[in-house]
Amino acid sequence: MKTPLAFALAAVVLAALAAAPLFIPDYWTGVLLGMTGYVALATAWALFSGPTRYVSLATVAFFGVGAYTVAVLNEVLPYPLVLLCAGGIGAAMALVVGLSTLRLAGVYFVIFTFGLAELVRQTVSWWEVNVTYTMGRYVFLPFEGRHIYWQLLALAAVTLLISWAIGRSRLGLALKAIGDDETVAAHAGINVTRIKLMLFVISATLITLVGAIQAPRWTYIEPSIVFNPTVSFMTLIMALLGGAMRLWGPLVGAVPLFLLFEWLSVSFPDHFSIILGLLFILIVFVMPQGVLAKLEDLRGRGKP
C-alpha cells in the first residue's frame, strides 16, 4: 500500500475509534480503554525489546511510577504538568537503569528487569508506610472513562507513529543489527550503547505515560495495584503473539489477547492465572515469531 493511502486509512480508523464512546455503552468504553492502554504498552515495549531482543520485564516498574507520580502530584500541579513530570521521571529512571544494565545480555537482563520492578514496588511501599504514613492514595481528577480513553488513544497513535518513523530510519536498521550481532554492528560504525540507551529511554517514557494517564481510572491507588507484575507479562506476551519485530505486531497481539483476558477474568476468576500461564506456553511454542510472521509463512507456502 502507498504511504499516503495508509495514512489516510489510519486517520479514518483513528477518528472512528475516537468517536466510538459517543455511541457505545460505558462498559464498552471501559473495554476499549483497557485495550488501547495495552496496545500502547505493547507497541512501546516492542520499540526497544523487539529488534534488540533485550526482553524487559520492567514494564510495570515504569507503568507504576507513572501512576504514582499522578497520585502524588495531582493536587499540587495542573494536569498537563503532572503528565510532563511523569514522563520526565520515567525518562530519568530509564536513563539510570539503562546506563547500569545495558551491558547485561540475555537472561541476565531479563532477571534484572524483573528484579527492578519488584525493587521499585517494595521501595514505594516502604516509603509510603515509613515516611508518608499513607498506604494508598486517592486520585481525584474530573475525568470520565472516555476522557482517559481519548488520551490513551492519542498516546497509542503517537507510539505507532514513532515506531513507524524509527522503522524507516537508519535507527531501525541499526536496532535490527544490534539484535543480530552487537560486535558486527559496532564495527559497522554504530554507537551500540548510545542507540540502545536512547531506545530504552523512549520506550520507558511512553510506558510511564500509559501508567500516568490510566491512574485517574482507579481513583484509589496502592503499590499492589499499579506494580502488579502481570502487566509486564501481559505486555510481553501480546507483543510476542503479534510479532515484536513488526510495526503492527504488538497491536495485532494486544487486541485479541486483551479481549480474551477480559472474558477469562469475568468467566473464570479463580482459574485466570492458570489459563494465562498455559496461554503463554502455547504462544511461545506455536508462534515464536508471532502471528504476522506465521501468516506470511502460510501465504508463502501456498504459492507454488
Partner: protein, 242 residues
C-alpha cells in the same frame, strides 16, 4: 586517499598469558601486507586491537596522524578502518542489501535513502553479488556470505581494510575468485592487512609479510624472502625443517 597504519609497541595480556608482546609495524598507503604466524601467535588479537574490539594494554595504533588506540570500534570505523571476521558473521534478520547498507548508513559519510540503496547495489556488484540485495542471508552459499561480508566492509568506504582469514574455507576455484577480488581492492588504493594461512594467496597478493610467533614479530620483509627464512619455517613446522 589512503592512510598509513602505524602500530608501535602494542601489548596485550590475558591474565598471565602475554598474547601480544611489543608488536610494531607500519603499512604504507595502498600496500597489501600479510600478517602470518601459526595458530595462537596473536594475529587475530592484533587485528582486534586495531579495530577496537579489544583494548590495548600498552602501545599505540595510529591511522595517519590520528591516534585510535583507545577508540571504541564504532569510532575506529569512522576513521576509515573496516574489517571482516575470522568466522563469517552475517546479520540474519537483514537482507543481503541491508547488511551492506548498514555500513553505508553508519560509515564515514552516512549515506541513506535511495543513494544508500544505489551504493549498496554498487558494492554488491563489485564483489560479484549483482542484483541479489533482496535475498535472505541464510540462503547464500559460504563464498557468497564471504562476498557479502566484504561488500559490507567496503561499504564503510575504508582506507584500511583488515581481512581476518577471509580466504579460509574456500575451494580452489572460489579461492582464485577471492584472490582476484582482493587484487581489485589494491587497484582502488585501499591499504589491506591480511591475516592468512593460505600461502598461495599470500604469495599472490602480498608484496610484504610480517610473521608472528608466540605474540612477537619474528620476521618482516618481502614475501618470498621472509617465507624462506629459517626462523619462519621453524615457527611453522618445527626444528627439523629449518
Amino acid at each position: 586517499m589512503s592512510a598509513e597504519l602505524h602500530l608501535s609497541h602494542l601489548h596485550k595480556r590475558f591474565g598471565g598469558l602475554v598474547a601480544v608482546r611489543d608488536v610494531s609495524f607500519s603499512l604504507a598507503p595502498g600496500e597489501v601486507v600479510g600478517l602470518l604466524g601459526p595458530n595462537g601467535s596473536g594475529k587475530t588479537t592484533v587485528m582486534n586491537m586495531i579495530s577496537g574490539a579489544l583494548p590495548c594494554d600498552g602501545g599505540s595504533v595510529k591511522v595517519g596522524t590520528t591516534d585510535i588506540t583507545r577508540m571504541k570500534p564504532h569510532r575506529v570505523a569512522k576513521h576509515g578502518v573496516a574489517r571482516t571476521f575470522q568466522l563469517v558473521r552475517p546479520l540474519p534478520t537483514l537482507t543481503v542489501g541491508e547488511n551492506v547498507m548498514l555500513s553505508l548508513a553508519f560509515g564515514k559519510k552516512r549515506h541513506w535513502g535511495r543513494e544508500a540503496r544505489d551504493l549498496a547495489e554498487e558494492k554488491l556488484a563489485f564483489v560479484g553479488l549483482e542484483g541479489r540485495g533482496g535475498e535472505q542471508v541464510g540462503n547464500l552459499t559460504y563464498i557468497d556470505q564471504k562476498r557479502m561480508e566484504m561488500a559490507r566492509a567496503l561499504a564503510s568506504e575504508p582506507d584500511i581494510l583488515l581481512l581476518d582469514e577471509w580466504l579460509a574455507g574456500l575451494n580452489p576455484s572460489e579461492l582464485s575468485i577471492g584472490i582476484e577480488l582482493v587484487r581489485h581492492l589494491q587497484g582502488q588504493g585501499i591499504t589491506v592487512l591480511l591475516v592468512e594461512h593460505i600461502m598461495e594467496a599470500v604469495r599472490a597478493l602480498c608484496s610484504r609479510c610480517i610473521v608472528m610467533s608466540a605474540g612477537e614479530v619474528i620476521a618482516e620483509g618481502p614475501s618470498a624472502e621472509v617465507l624462506a627464512r629459517p626462523a619462519v619455517i621453524k615457527a611453522y613446522l618445527g626444528d627439523d625443517h629449518a
